[in-house]
Symmetry: none
Subunit: 209 residues, 4 copies
Amino acid sequence: MGIKERKELEKQEMRRLILDTAMKLFLEKGLENVTIRHIAEKIEYSPATIYLYFKDKDDIIYTLHREGFEQLYKLQQTTLSIRDPLERLRKQGEVYVSFAMENPEYYDLMFIMRGPVKKIKEMKEWDIGFRSFEFLRQNIKECMEAGLFPEANIDIATFSLWSYAHGIVSLIIRDRCTMFPEDKIRNIVDEALDFMLGTMFDNKVEIKS
Amino acid sequence: MGIKERKELEKQEMRRLILDTAMKLFLEKGLENVTIRHIAEKIEYSPATIYLYFKDKDDIIYTLHREGFEQLYKLQQTTLSIRDPLERLRKQGEVYVSFAMENPEYYDLMFIMRGPVKKIKEMKEWDIGFRSFEFLRQNIKECMEAGLFPEANIDIATFSLWSYAHGIVSLIIRDRCTMFPEDKIRNIVDEALDFMLGTMFDNKVEIKS
Amino acid sequence: MGIKERKELEKQEMRRLILDTAMKLFLEKGLENVTIRHIAEKIEYSPATIYLYFKDKDDIIYTLHREGFEQLYKLQQTTLSIRDPLERLRKQGEVYVSFAMENPEYYDLMFIMRGPVKKIKEMKEWDIGFRSFEFLRQNIKECMEAGLFPEANIDIATFSLWSYAHGIVSLIIRDRCTMFPEDKIRNIVDEALDFMLGTMFDNKVEIKS
Amino acid sequence: MGIKERKELEKQEMRRLILDTAMKLFLEKGLENVTIRHIAEKIEYSPATIYLYFKDKDDIIYTLHREGFEQLYKLQQTTLSIRDPLERLRKQGEVYVSFAMENPEYYDLMFIMRGPVKKIKEMKEWDIGFRSFEFLRQNIKECMEAGLFPEANIDIATFSLWSYAHGIVSLIIRDRCTMFPEDKIRNIVDEALDFMLGTMFDNKVEIKS
DNA sequence: CATGAATGAGAGTTCATTCAT
DNA sequence: GATGAATGAACTCTCATTCAT
């Protein structure tokens, strides 16, 4: 029994190793430019070995894609402990951005890369991503109902907030912020988040004459 | 002399043809899936001919990249006729989003794709893109100085507004908005833009007191 | 001793299982398209296990090849109970065709496929197949000696009859009879056999005088 | 103009070279065991070059397949100069066998190999082969109508004669006649053909008591 | 006895690129 | 100026086979 479990564990470790390696390479070189050979070389196995753990290249991509959405969703859930919906919303922003900055490869795959979209559409597995959108939407709805948020079409509002957070992280991940010094980036992200949320809600009271 | 000029003109026309064709194909199939052969077939020349006008594939991409930034900058300039800086800022948002929606291939190349970045960095040609950033920054500065904009670090504010617009269009361009019906997308973009800018500025007036 | 025998028996059963499975797959997919892995999966063992019972893929094929000839020979023997040589010859034709139609995989392997021949030549094991040829030859000789068969070179006659039967079944096995409806094929085979034999012998009687 | 023609000619020569080489290799090693690389090596070009002349491997096979049927049909036509239908039929047998013996690679591809069948079925190009069958059928019909041939179902009769010829040549092509010395093979084929046709028609009169 | 894990060799195919003409 | 012809390098993926356990 112990032996079987060990074997299973080792198999999972190998899958993990392949997934992580693939992820790193995807981020470095872009989805299309990573080959099975590259992955194999990096982990010092033969290309054929990869196929013992994954059906094909798409299987790897798809697995990573799903993992990413599951991680993100789990993180979102942690905000549920916060009662105040507006505070919770703010936290969601932080969580989202943190996820992106700490797992840029996953984020890229989930929200930027072109490749996966087609496959995922076919597989009708957008549901996973949709869950996260719904979660955010629900939070905003609560805020509106509590009068803490400007009345507006909820879909538009949800899309807007998502876009904002996405804009920030995707510009950084895709390296379009060379005007800022590399080591300040993380700060800038946080401040930008604060700025926007602050502008939207807090300032309404404070700034007016 | 006349002959030389004619020749030069013809050369430019050919370059134009190649660039436009490449762009169309990039949009249809994605950067990685367009081959020199595809381009050549489309313009009914041989692949080898392409190399008479461009050093290599990257040269084409890089040229398009630069052209994109030039177009965008020119569009930005059209807002200069507007006196009121806040109104001008709003117009800049519209112009930016319009450019992206009407030239998604260019936008993708300029702000999303991975490929070009490395080349561009080496060539220290970020300047072109930087100009646009500066232009936006200047506008925001004016707004702040006129008291029309919440006081804040200008860089942060600039980055924030840019991020917001980028977020909107890049989610759409990279097809992450399947939760909205295809034919409503353009509306949603506009409304999202209104929503955010409205939230940031107008409400401040309406809600206070 | 009993234990050893049991072991030996089990070993033989396993070989049988592998051979039968291989044969079924060869029929379904064709010799070249069956992999050791396919066979292994079908019998729910690992590919490596196959190699405990057979040296390599060729060993499997070769074994089946030989078995086929043994089966055919045994079937031929059943005609020995028939006294009249001409009737016996006719029966041999039926038996041959039946064998082919009921075991097309074996037949293919024995008389059509390219693969085995080289191996078999080396192994000088044509003898097995030769036995069957000799048996037919002997039958024809008897017919001739009994004046029931046109005088001719016996080898030529034997080859001719064999060719005829082979032609019929091999055209069908290799799917060259698409001009006939699938469900009539078996009938056509029988009628063709009757036609030729009838033409050769019976008519001689009927038409003359 | 002359240049264009020359180029076209050279292109055709290259196609021919590839086709012939492929054919030789197919016969030697079997359809499945010939690779684009093999062909390329044999003609001392790079594998990629093959693809300049043929879409893919199937294109090569399919082209050869069609060529074979066209050749055969043309040969069949030469018998039309013969008035007497029975004599013409005999000639058709000779022609068929000659074609097979002189172009065993083609014959193999057309009537024995497994690979092509599927593709050809899809392409509904069996027609080419069907023409030849029809031609033979028509000849037999004429013989029957002239009372030169035993009355029987024409389809069965046609299939029978075809089977006979096919049986002879396919046993030889697939090397199942090792009981005969190599250098006598051609003789044996001819005699076998004579034997069968003789048995069927001439002997009817001569042999009877 | 059985196998999980691994691989070298090789399949078909595509592509950016070069170069003689 | 334009190109037909060619190719080296790379791609994804499969297979028979081995070997330590």
